[in-house]
Each structure stands twice: as C-alpha cells, then as structure tokens.
C-alpha cells in the first residue's frame, strides 16, 4: 500500500517536471534570445523577477518611489550590459541582477549620507524656525510708495538741509565726512540735519501724510 503510494507520487513528479520546464523557459535562454535581438524576452525576464527584485529593494529602502527608481536603474544597467555583450552566462541571471540592485541600494544610502536631508514632521517643522524674511508683494508695493513719497518730501526741503540729509541717510556718511564735503563745521551740519527732520515732520503733519508700512 505504502509502496504503491510512493510509486504514484514518483510518477506524478516525473510527469509534472517536464511540463513545468516547458512552460518556464530558462533565464539563460531568454537572456541569449534577448542579446540576439528578441525584445520580448526582456519583458518575460522583467515580469518573472519583478516581484522578487522589487520586494528586495523595498525591504531595504522602505520607500515605494525610491524602490521604483532603483528598480529602473537596475534594469537600465542590465540592459546596457547585455546589449554591450559584457554579460557572461553562468546560469545566474537573478543573482546577478540582485547584486546590481544591492549595489545601487548602497549607492542610494551613501548619497543620502553625503547630502543629509531634513524632513519636518508634526512635532517640529523647520519652516517655523526659519522663514523667508523678504516682504510679500503687498508690503513691497507699500514700501515702494513710501520711499517715493519720502523722496518727494525731501525735494521740498531747502537745498542746504536736503544736502546734509541725503548724505547722512542715503549715502550713510558720518557728520565729520559731511562737514568735510560741504565745507561747513560739524555743528552746522548737525543743525541742518535737525532742521531737515523738523521740517519734514512739519510737512507730513501739515498734509496728513501717513508713512507707515
């Protein structure tokens, strides 16, 4: 009884094996066909090993998009090597592809180590600490208007006061430099500056001009 069962099982495996071999063309044959120009073989190869290679990459990088990238780069290398005829057939197509994927995974981690990437999370977001300190469009327009208004107001001042004010505020000169340039004493320059500011305030008050951002 037991012997019969055993012989039955043996005959089953014997009959099954050739069928499976017929369905599954070996990798080495597909690779050879591909090298000789049969593009369809590559599709069979990729589809056959897709899951194993993708899962292998995913198990290391744990990111779907990176997995896609590395999978793609792996097969680009495979295609180039096969087309250049540099592949030596030893019946180890899958281990070879896995090795390429493995090396690319290492490259990926090395690259990330060299260029550290910081991603904010819910607890801490980097943009709450650093921000763009430039004015937004509206504030920039208001600032431009104030600047041009102020320039017109300065034009209203008497020439000597205007000269000192422009040198001090716009050219950022010290009162010593101003006195040397205009040929008046420091005290006179200081006085002119004082009157320039007083006069500006008077004009602003008189016309009810608002100069704030």
């Amino acid at each position: 009884m037991t012997q019969k069962k055993l012989s039955n099982r043996n005959s089953q495996t014997l009959t099954k094996k050739p069928n499976r071999m017929a369905l599954q063309i070996e990798d080495s044959v597909l690779v050879r066909d591909y090298i000789s120009g049969d593009e369809k073989s590559l599709e069979v190869l990729i589809n056959r090993h897709n899951q194993r290679i993708s899962s292998f990459i995913y198990s290391k990088v744990l990111d779907r998009d990176v997995t896609e990238d590395i999978f793609q780069d792996t097969f680009i290398k495979v295609i180039k090597t096969l087309k250049k005829g540099r592949y030596s057939e030893e019946g180890k197509f899958l281990p070879w592809v896995m090795r390429i994927a493995h090396n690319l995974i290492i490259d990926h981690f090395r690259k990330n180590k060299r260029i550290p990437k910081f991603e904010g999370n819910d607890d801490f977001n980097i943009f709450s600490v650093i921000g763009d300190d430039k004015l937004n469009a509206e504030k920039q327009i208001i600032k431009n208007q104030i600047d041009s208004d102020l320039r017109q107001l300065v034009e209203e001042l008497p020439n000597d006061q205007k000269e000192v004010l422009l040198m001090r505020i716009y050219k950022d000169m010290s009162f010593k430099e101003i006195s040397e340039n205009t040929g008046v004493s420091i005290n006179t320059a200081l006085g002119r500056m004082r009157y320039a500011l007083i006069n500006l305030r008077k004009i602003i008050d008189k016309h009810n001009i608002v100069l704030t951002n």
């Binding site: 593009e39 590559l42 599709e43 990729i46 589809n47 897709n50 899951q51 290679i53 993708s54 899962s55 995913y58 198990s59 290391k60 744990l62 779907r64 997995t67 896609e68 999978f71 793609q72 097969f75 680009i76 295609i79 180039k80 087309k83 250049k84 005829g85 995974i105 290492i106 981690f109 090395r110 180590k113």
Partner: protein
C-alpha cells in the same frame, strides 16, 4: 554591510514595480543601440 541599512528590516512586504516603469524599461531597451567601433562601444539612444 548591514550597518548602512535601516534597522527595521521586518517591515518586508511583497511589492511589484508599476507597469509604467516596466514599459519605460522596454521602451528604453528598444531605443538603445550599441555601436561597436574597434575596441570602443558607443551607446546610442534613438528617440
């Protein structure tokens, strides 16, 4: 080797690459031609 891999390796799950990626690879394979000249080999992507 395992030093540069992240620690949580148990999160393995079966994944498959998108069909777009496979289509791209097949397209790339069709467009790539290698021209051999003396000892040099030139890659040529015809697109």
């Amino acid at each position: 080797m395992e030093k540069i891999y992240p620690g949580h390796q148990k999160k393995c799950k079966l994944t498959e690459t998108k069909s777009e990626t496979i289509q791209f690879l097949l397209g790339f394979s069709k467009s790539l031609h290698v021209i051999a000249y003396k000892n040099l080999k030139f890659e040529n992507v015809l697109n």
